[in-house]
């Protein structure tokens, strides 16, 4: 089974040189730590920053410079700042090459639910609905099952949707799945996870190809 860093590390392999990337909160944020040597990416933060740098050194925090998670960050040489309308404009116009975000549920047709649980305090969708509706390339990072052991890869999402027909790839603690033709296609499994376990824990339609790689 992959831990959070394992999931992030695997997703980092999907990041190509020269990509503009938007990282959601949680596991997606960790992806930045695993981008391979020689691969340059520029991070977009939807509150209006292109070229997001690392957290500031202690004592150098700037209240005016935060990311979409409201964390203090830094700029890098070549960064640019813009307003929220332009920020979501560039997202809608698909100038951002890759979006990585977490989810509560993903369905076999690429729907995603990640913002609202009925009966619980709803905090809001933030920029997630804009991102999933617009991005051309979206990878979901999440645990395969919820805390009760229920599959989060479903025939249909049961929670209120964030977006429809938009997710191309899911990386979980159990493996890597492409979503196409109305099914989850197993691409790689975690080294210590059997195909049977994945089958048992995937409620949505699952396609197992002849050759399944091992997540490295």
């Amino acid at each position: 089974m992959l831990d959070k860093n394992g999931i992030a590390k695997r997703i980092a392999k999907e990041v190509k040189d020269g990509m503009y990337v938007n990282l959601g909160i949680g596991i997606p944020t960790l992806v930045a730590n695993y981008v391979p040597e020689g691969i340059e990416v520029i991070l977009q933060s939807e509150n209006g920053l292109l070229g997001m740098g690392p957290f500031p050194w202690e004592g150098e925090e700037d209240a005016d410079l935060i990311n979409a998670g409201k964390q203090t960050v830094t700029t890098l040489p070549g960064s640019s700042i813009f307003d929220s309308a332009m920020s979501f404009g560039m997202i809608r116009a698909q100038k951002v090459d890759l979006t990585i975000l977490g989810a509560m549920e993903v369905s076999e047709n690429g729907d995603i639910a990640n913002w609202k649980v009925p009966g619980k305090m709803v905090k809001g969708m933030g920029g997630a609905m804009d991102l999933v509706a617009s991005a051309k390339n979206i990878i979901v990072a999440m645990q395969h099952c919820d805390k009760a052991g229920n599959s989060k890869l479903l025939p249909h999402c049961t929670l209120p949707l964030t977006g429809i027909h938009c997710i191309q790839k899911v990386v979980t603690d159990l493996g890597v799945f492409d979503i196409k033709d109305g099914a989850f296609h197993l691409v790689e499994r975690a080294a210590d996870v059997s195909i049977e376990e994945i089958q048992a824990k995937t409620a949505g339609k699952l396609v197992i190809p002849e050759a399944v790689g091992i997540v490295q």
Binding site: P54, A85, K123, G127, M129, A133
Partner: protein
């Protein structure tokens, strides 16, 4: 005479804001919020406000202060976490909350400022956000039609401003402020530094003064940090 936009302080700037009005309030989280005007609205005890703002502050700062005073009837936001009083009022039904996608919020402000009555966005298609909204397909993709906002006042915070109302924002404190500045029937700008007209490079002005009706230098800016994240000097994260 002439372009008399400079007001003394937040009190003078907020003249005319009345119970039941719709206000746009700039900022993202606690970053780039008009602290001085928010404090004045608390003093003013103006009530039944509809606030269009990306977030709702925290319990003891930002728009959270208006919530404490039960001055807000309705929030239109994209994300409202980090606020216990907000949660209480929302769950009890005292506070109406309309959650909309962040890009939709930004673009509905821009639409108002650009005189566009409505815009199309794919955000929210197929979700509960789309309920009751008109959809339309362009080039095979479905979009929602979303209307421009209509706000009595827009209250924004800039870094520098001049006496003609020209504004420059600093870093990501820009966020929603420029679009809201364009969108208010009356726009109030509080700035960290008010300078004479002619002090700012015309090429570098983010918000032309034509959009700004009242401007003042804020008495004090706390600029609270919501999530202080740092790297330690030893190199670890």
């Amino acid at each position: 005479m002439g372009f008399n936009k400079v007001v003394k302080n937040a009190n003078e700037a907020c003249q005319g804001i009345e119970d039941g009005m719709t206000l746009m309030v700039g900022g993202f989280g606690l970053c780039g919020i008009p602290e001085n005007c928010i404090a004045e609205l608390v003093n003013k005890k103006v009530k039944e406000l509809t606030c269009i703002s990306n977030n709702a502050g925290v319990d003891d700062f930002g728009l959270g202060l208006l919530l404490q005073g039960k001055q807000v009837k309705k929030m239109i936001s994209s994300y409202v976490g980090e606020n216990a009083e907000f949660e209480r009022q929302m769950l009890s039904g005292e506070l109406e909350v309309e959650l909309i996608p962040q890009g939709t919020l930004a673009t509905r402000c821009m639409a108002a400022g650009y005189g566009m009555p409505a815009i199309y966005t794919p955000a929210g298609v197929g979700t509960e956000v789309a309920e009751g909204k008109e959809t339309r397909v362009f080039n095979g993709k479905t979009y929602l039609m979303e209307y421009a906002f209509d706000a009595d006042f827009a209250i924004v915070k800039a870094w520098k401003g001049d006496t003609l109302g020209n504004l420059i924002f600093r870093s990501t404190a820009r966020n929603f402020n420029p679009m809201m500045a364009m969108a208010g029937k009356i726009t109030i700008a509080e700035v960290e530094e008010l300078v004479p007209a002619g002090s700012l490079d015309p090429d570098q002005i983010h918000t032309p003064g034509i959009y700004v009706h009242r401007i003042f230098q804020g008495a004090k800016f706390e600029k609270r940090i919501e999530q202080r994240t740092t790297r330690k000097r030893d190199g670890s994260c």
